[in-house]
């Protein structure tokens, strides 16, 4: 069986994120890293493989992004993926969620995975719907925000997730697309050896044409949701900040603040 894990390169959490005012797109320059939520998806794949719950032959990390996204794939491989695929093409730049999901689904179609895993959300775009887009194109059943996966009889999963009324337990036949919540596991740290060896594992760089992607459906200009401008939200008065140096004093200040507002 084959598991494909979708991963993404995102601005490092420490980098101040900003928008290019002329295009409305995220300014993606600066230090980048593997989306931290994706490490949970890789870990989930590794646990399915290592526990023998599924007969997993291969874990393949897949990304779409500019040249720099290669580093996210190296990180994914250092965390255990066997090989990786990098969909890179200038024509894809600026694709919206629907176009990105479509493009990724074309790469996945060629790989014919039994299971596609991804993280609960991207750290930068605050998006958590790519899985549902990919699943519809692949015509696979899918579920997002899954925090527990049990394998039943090798070809069926029992998945748990929290939805708007409480916890749901759902049975899903493979092949399927599952996004995992960050409570599903504690991702491992890559060993030094794995980090050193990551660049030696196979990395396929594919273009939009290689993947059979219809050029008319991708890229900023062809995306169906168009950014047409931006505005500033109403300004909220900045709150007061106390740096705790002397805790007794801090607590006095908190109590005084609460007391002024008659909250005690």
């Amino acid at each position: 069986m084959k598991i494909c894990v979708l991963v993404k390169e995102v601005p490092d959490a420490a980098v101040q994120k900003k928008i290019d005012p002329s295009t409305g797109r995220m300014d993606r320059s600066g230090e980048k890293n593997l989306n931290p939520y994706d490490t949970h998806a890789i870990e989930a794949a590794m646990q399915l493989k290592e526990s023998g719950a599924m007969a997993v032959d291969e874990v393949v990390a897949v990304t779409m992004g500019p040249d720099s996204a290669e580093r996210a794939l190296h990180k994914a491989v250092s965390l255990g993926a066997d090989r990786s695929i990098h969909l890179a093409d200038d024509s894809l730049a600026g694709s919206d969620v629907a176009a990105t999901g479509y493009a990724l689904s074309k790469v996945l179609e060629k790989e014919a995975p039994d299971l596609v895993l991804l993280g609960q959300q991207s750290d930068d775009g605050e998006c958590y719907t790519i899985g549902a887009v990919v699943a519809d194109h692949l015509e696979f059943p899918s579920l997002t925000q899954v925090i527990k996966i049990d394998v039943e009889g090798g070809t069926k999963l029992r998945a748990e997730r929290q939805a708007e009324y409480g916890y749901d337990t759902v049975e899903i036949n493979l092949p399927a697309v599952i996004s995992v919540g960050d409570a599903i596991n504690e991702p491992r740290y890559p060993s030094l050896k794995a980090i050193m060896g990551a660049k030696k594992k196979p990395l396929d760089k594919v273009s939009a044409a290689d993947s059979g992607i219809d050029a008319a459906k991708v890229g900023g200009d062809n995306s169906a949701a168009q950014w047409t401008g931006s505005s500033e939200p109403p300004k909220k008065e900045a709150g007061r900040i106390i740096e705790d140096e002397d805790t007794a004093e801090t607590v006095d200040q908190i109590v005084a603040w609460l007391d002024e507002r008659k909250l005690i």
């Binding site: 994120k17 900003k18 928008i19 919206d96 969620v97 629907a98 999901g101 605050e126 958590y128 719907t129 549902a132 887009v133 699943a135 519809d136 015509e139 059943p141 899918s142 925000q145 925090i147 929290q162 939805a163 708007e164 009324y165 409480g166 916890y167 749901d168 337990t169 759902v170 049975e171 899903i172 036949n173 399927a176 409570a183 169906a224 949701a225 168009q226 950014w227 047409t228 401008g229 931006s230 505005s231 500033e232 939200p233 909220k236 709150g239 007061r240 900040i241 106390i242 740096e243 705790d244 805790t247 801090t250 607590v251 006095d252 908190i254 109590v255 603040w257 609460l258 909250l263 005690i264």
Partner: protein
């Protein structure tokens, strides 16, 4: 002329409040672009009477579909069938979880543009423009659509519910579900993990997050809530509910409760958007977090940068002393 189709999520005989808000919003927008708001309901044996109540929120027609509940893909099938048979320019979803999954799946199915986390929609020249806050709500993007159908998924509590006293015609729509949407089966739905705590009625909420470090960390929150006394309670983030540290009934946010206490005090909570949407109506927001860059400080009235393990016990003593004074 184009109509607006709204997905109305129902569970155990009641419609989701966010769906009702979406119906109200769609009715308002449809009037502005010269169309009608229709709702679609998917479920097992949903009565036409129940479906018809959506008329009271502005829907002129309700499509009642017999199908599996709680899963997104059958709803995508149903909405795609409705769009194929009707004249729809937009589909609108209330915030939550299923709406996000259905909206995204429908975008794929229809080759449509999708905008999510939308907090406001306006009509402009017969078309809808959606507003999405980005970058931790520090800017707002305007999004318009060039596809035949534009898909708008709102943020939790974005739209106000308005009762109109109207009525809706209910039609049943029979849908041929796609083979893959039958590959997922709901085994149990809406399981309430943990005790049945009440946070919606509290005046003071002491909320704990992953920064508490362990289930035992909640003792610090309980002690502070007890010190406040009166109508106070302890609440939590999804991260700690998923981890089993606190009951689901006490969770604030997108897939939990919406609260508006007089005082909300967060201990070890980062302030993710999905949490914020459930508590931003609180009158006073206090946050204790050791990371000065935590997003929660962006919307706190009082922020304390420090270790909760040091601050919470002393704060509890000080509140007790103040109360005793």
């Amino acid at each position: 002329m184009a109509n607006i189709l709204v997905y109305a999520l129902q569970y155990e005989g009641a419609f989701n409040k966010n769906s009702l808000g979406a119906v109200s919003e769609a009715a308002k927008l449809a009037a502005e672009i010269g169309g009608e708001a229709h709702a679609i309901v998917v479920g097992q044996g949903v009565s036409d009477d129940l479906a018809g109540t959506l008329g009271n929120y502005g829907a002129t027609k309700v499509l009642n579909v017999e199908g599996p509940e709680g899963l997104a893909q059958p709803v995508v099938d149903a909405m795609a069938a409705a769009v194929a048979a009707g004249d729809y320019g937009y589909a609108i979803f209330g915030g939550g979880l299923l709406g996000f999954e259905v909206g995204a799946g429908l975008a794929a199915r229809l080759d449509a543009g999708v905008a999510m986390e939308i907090t406001a929609v306006r009509a402009d020249g017969g078309k809808l423009v959606a507003e999405r806050p980005i970058l931790g709500d520090s800017a707002i993007s305007q999004i318009s659509f060039r596809s035949d159908v534009g898909i708008i998924i709102s943020r939790l509590n974005a739209f106000e519910i308005k009762e109109t006293g109207g009525t809706a015609a209910v039609e049943s729509l029979s849908v041929e579900f796609s083979p893959f949407s039958g590959q997922a089966t709901m085994i149990t739905r809406g399981e309430q993990r943990g005790a049945d705590v009440d946070i919606e009625g509290a005046d003071v909420l002491i909320a704990g997050g992953r920064g508490l470090g362990a289930e035992e960390g909640f003792e610090l929150c309980e002690a502070l809530a007890t010190a406040f006394g009166g109508n106070s309670a302890v609440a939590a983030t999804r991260a700690v509910v998923d981890a089993g540290w606190f009951p689901y009934a006490g969770q604030i946010g997108q897939t939990g409760k919406t609260v508006a206490p007089k005082l909300y005090l967060a201990a070890g909570i980062s302030g993710a958007i999905q949490h914020k949407v459930g508590m931003q109506g609180a009158e006073n927001i206090v946050a204790i977090n050791k990371d000065a860059n935590a997003p929660i400080f962006e919307f706190s009235d009082l922020g304390i940068v420090g270790d909760l393990n040091k601050i919470m016990p002393k704060l509890t003593e000080a509140v007790k002393a103040k109360k005793g004074a």
